[in-house]
Structure formats: structure tokens, C-alpha cells
Amino acid sequence: MPNSPNRLLSQLPQTSRRRLDSLGQIVELRLSETIGTAGGPTDAVLFPSDGFISLLAQVDGGHAIEVGMVGREGMLGIQLALGVSTEPLKALVQGPGQALRVSAAAFRRELRADPALRATVNRYVYVLFAQHARAAACLRFHQIEQRLARWLLMSHDRAHADHFRVTHEFLAYMLGVRRVGVTLAAGALQRRQLIAYDRGEMTIVDRAGLADAACRCYASDQAAYAEQFG
């Protein structure tokens, strides 16, 4: 495994983890790569060790919005644990990195045979469940600036670096707002010296300040995860 292990895998007993390691292989997550399409088949599950993946719900054949994010704290493909083998959402790589890939067939066999794996995955389903629920309310009530601050914190947690590449266009797509809205919100955060943004390169300058600027949804998501996984 790479040096920053996936946190779900590290929750598992050593025998469970070794089995998954031996069944799977390390793959690269490439920036902007679409890993899954809503309604398409689930070929494999991914446990990112770094890098992160956005879960997007789409409407009207184009508009999309992020309803969840998966990084080293989680996994992609929980629907297999729910007995469903089609992708529920679009999955798009947002931060490049690596992941352990286990084929759908092998993962299903492991789930059946390994209660410890089942329990861990179920707990993670609960975390994602809470994240989706919160997304619905957050999208209804919170301002772009708060939501952008939240998004930056979530990305920062998963990027393992203070810099990452992201365009305003991409942010607008994720947050489901117009580009000009993102530009204004990012400008406001930059004036408060919480971030620096230069030609597609985002730098987190003041993480604590950003946490103050974000809506409570960020802290609530963190708490839901901590409640399940400590």
C-alpha cells in the first residue's frame, strides 16, 4: 500500500485488510476522469489512499451538483454492499492520486465472507447517508461563499497539500451556481486572506479562518464521520 493508507481499510482487522490488498491492485486516479456514470454498471470498488472523487447528481441532461465527496476516509461503490450493481451517481476525480481497486465480484465475495468488512462498510454508508441529507439542506439555505468555504475545506482534507488546481468553472459546476457567483465568493475569501487564487492554483492560507467562513455543514459532516470511526 502507498504510505497514506485509506482510513476505512485501516479500521479493518489485519486479515481482512490483507485479503483485500491481495485481491486488489493499485490504480491511478487521474484529474477530471469520470469513474462512474449514473445508471452504468459497477465494475469495481475503489479505496483512495490519496486523491479524491466527487459524487454528482445530474438533472436536465447537464446541470450537476455535488452531493458527496470520497477520499482516503471512504470508498467508492457502496451500492454493492446494498445489493445493487449499478452506479447511483456520476463519480468524477477531482484530486489526482491512487486507490486500491477491488473488482465487484471479489468485493461481493469478501462482503459475504467477512463480517468485519460488512460492519465497517455499513458504518460508512451511514456517513454518506448523512452527507447526502445535509447536501439537500445546505443547497437550499446556505450562501455561495459559505458553501465554497466548505468545499475548499473538504478538498483540503483530502488533497494532503495546501495547493490544488481548480478552475472557477469547475467550482461553479460542483456547487451548481453560475461562474460569476464563484468568482465573487472566491474574491471575498481572498480579500479576507483565507485563500490565494492565481491562474487555476488554489492555496489555502488560513484554514481556521476558512472554517469560520464555512457553514456548519462542514463540522456536522466531520462529526458524523468521527461518531462512526473515531
Binding site: I65, G68, V125, A137, F141, G176
Partner: protein
């Protein structure tokens, strides 16, 4: 046959499971506005609505709320229990009065841990519910209040046994996370178009295809997923 089988999940239990469950299922009255769970509090029971509809709401710290999903005779309230969470991230409140059945949390967990057909059924239901939640999120951002109102009426209608809903505009406003005036205006528009009639908290749907036409695609997306994932569906 007991009325418990009006709930589609209970209806599709295999014979052996049904025999175990029947004596321990407890019928309950679910009056309008009853809160079944508060978010963050431990779950004592799971509920299988038969004629009632339950709304799952996400409640913000300032008290504002938005609906994330509805559960009627197609489903179960309390799925977080079998994901290992002892509490639920949402509030569950009865949005349309009726009846349902409940099972204690310990009993439900024990059934779930048998890893039999019940587990399979409930997990598939969970996936359908997740789809509804994700779709509601995107709908909240992209679709007009009028479209959302139509979607909401259709979701409710699928879970009722006639075309009448008893509902205050205040409750609808709470569900959709908008102001009451917005709901009044939206409902008046639908009434003028001859799609519904609204009188003192009673909504009667007059033209269902008309509502479907005015709704955003989110209704159809969610319905299709439920039809695909679950053995019997919300179809009337």
C-alpha cells in the same frame, strides 16, 4: 390478511420471516405532525407506514428545515439503524395522517443480523432512499418552487389511497424549505390551471398527468429507481 401487508416491504417478506414478524409487529396511529425521531437522538423503533406518509427532514441549527425524502407504504423509517448508526441524521415527521406498524430497534437489528432475505430487501430499499436524497439535493438548487411543488404532490399521491391530501401550507413550506407565501402562490397557480383544488388544508388532485407535465424530471428519476430496485412499488 392483516393490514400490515399494505406496506410493500412487509408484503414481500418470505413466509418464514412473516411468521416470525407477525406477532411482534405493533400497529400504531400516526397523526399529522407527530415526530417519530428527532435528529441525533437514539432510535427506539423502526416504522413501516401503511396509510400514513412520513417526511424525513434535515434540520439546521437555526431551526430551518428541508425535506430530504418521503417514506410511505413502499418503505421503512429508520434505515440508519441497520447501517450501524444508533441515531438518525434527520427528523422524521408524519406529513399525512394514517397508520403504520412498528418493530423495536433490538428486534430489527436481530433480524438484520440473521443476514437472510430481509437484509437484502432492506439494503436495496436503502439504496433507493439514497437516490431520492441525492435527487432532492440537486432539485433544491436547480428547480423552481412550482416544479418542486408538483414533484412533492406526486410523491405524496403515490403513497396515498385516494387523490386527497390533508395538508397545511405551513407544513408544505417547511417540507420544501421555502416561505409560506411561495407555497400559496404556487398552489394558486396549480388551482387556476385546473390541476388541483385547495380548500382549508384539503388538497384534491384533479389532473395527475398535468402535474407530471409541470413537475421537474426529479419525480420520474426517483420513481424509476424505486420501481427498479424494489419488488413492489409505489404504483397505485
Amino acid at each position: 390478511m392483516t393490514t400490515a401487508k399494505l406496506n410493500h416491504l412487509l408484503h414481500s417478506l418470505p413466509e418464514a420471516e412473516w411468521k416470525r414478524w407477525e406477532p411482534v409487529l405493533e400497529q400504531v396511529d400516526l397523526p399529522l405532525g407527530l415526530v417519530l425521531y428527532e435528529s441525533g437522538r437514539p432510535l427506539s423503533h423502526v416504522y413501516f407506514p401503511t396509510t400514513a406518509i412520513v417526511s424525513l427532514l434535515y434540520v439546521m441549527e437555526n431551526g430551518a428545515s428541508a425535506e430530504i425524502a418521503v417514506v410511505g407504504n413502499e418503505g421503512i423509517v429508520g434505515v440508519s439503524l441497520f447501517m450501524g448508526g444508533e441515531t438518525t441524521p434527520s427528523r422524521a415527521v408524519v406529513q399525512s395522517a394514517g397508520k403504520g406498524y412498528r418493530l423495536s430497534a433490538e428486534r430489527m437489528k436481530a433480524e438484520f443480523n440473521l443476514a437472510g432475505p430481509v437484509l437484502h430487501l432492506l439494503l436495496r430499499y436503502t439504496q433507493a432512499l439514497l437516490t431520492q436524497m441525492a435527487q432532492t439535493a440537486v432539485c433544491n438548487r436547480h428547480h423552481s418552487l412550482d416544479q418542486q411543488l408538483c414533484r412533492w404532490l406526486l410523491l405524496s399521491l403515490d403513497r396515498l389511497h385516494d387523490n386527497k391530501l390533508i395538508m397545511t401550507q405551513e407544513l408544505i413550506a417547511n417540507m420544501l424549505g421555502v416561505r409560506r407565501e411561495g407555497v400559496t402562490e404556487g398552489a394558486m397557480k396549480l388551482q387556476r390551471a385546473g390541476l388541483i383544488s385547495y380548500r382549508r388544508g384539503h388538497i384534491t388532485v384533479l389532473d395527475r398527468p398535468g402535474l407530471e407535465e409541470r413537475s421537474c424530471e426529479c419525480y420520474a428519476v426517483v420513481k424509476k429507481e424505486y420501481d427498479r430496485l424494489l419488488p413492489v412499488t409505489t404504483a397505485r
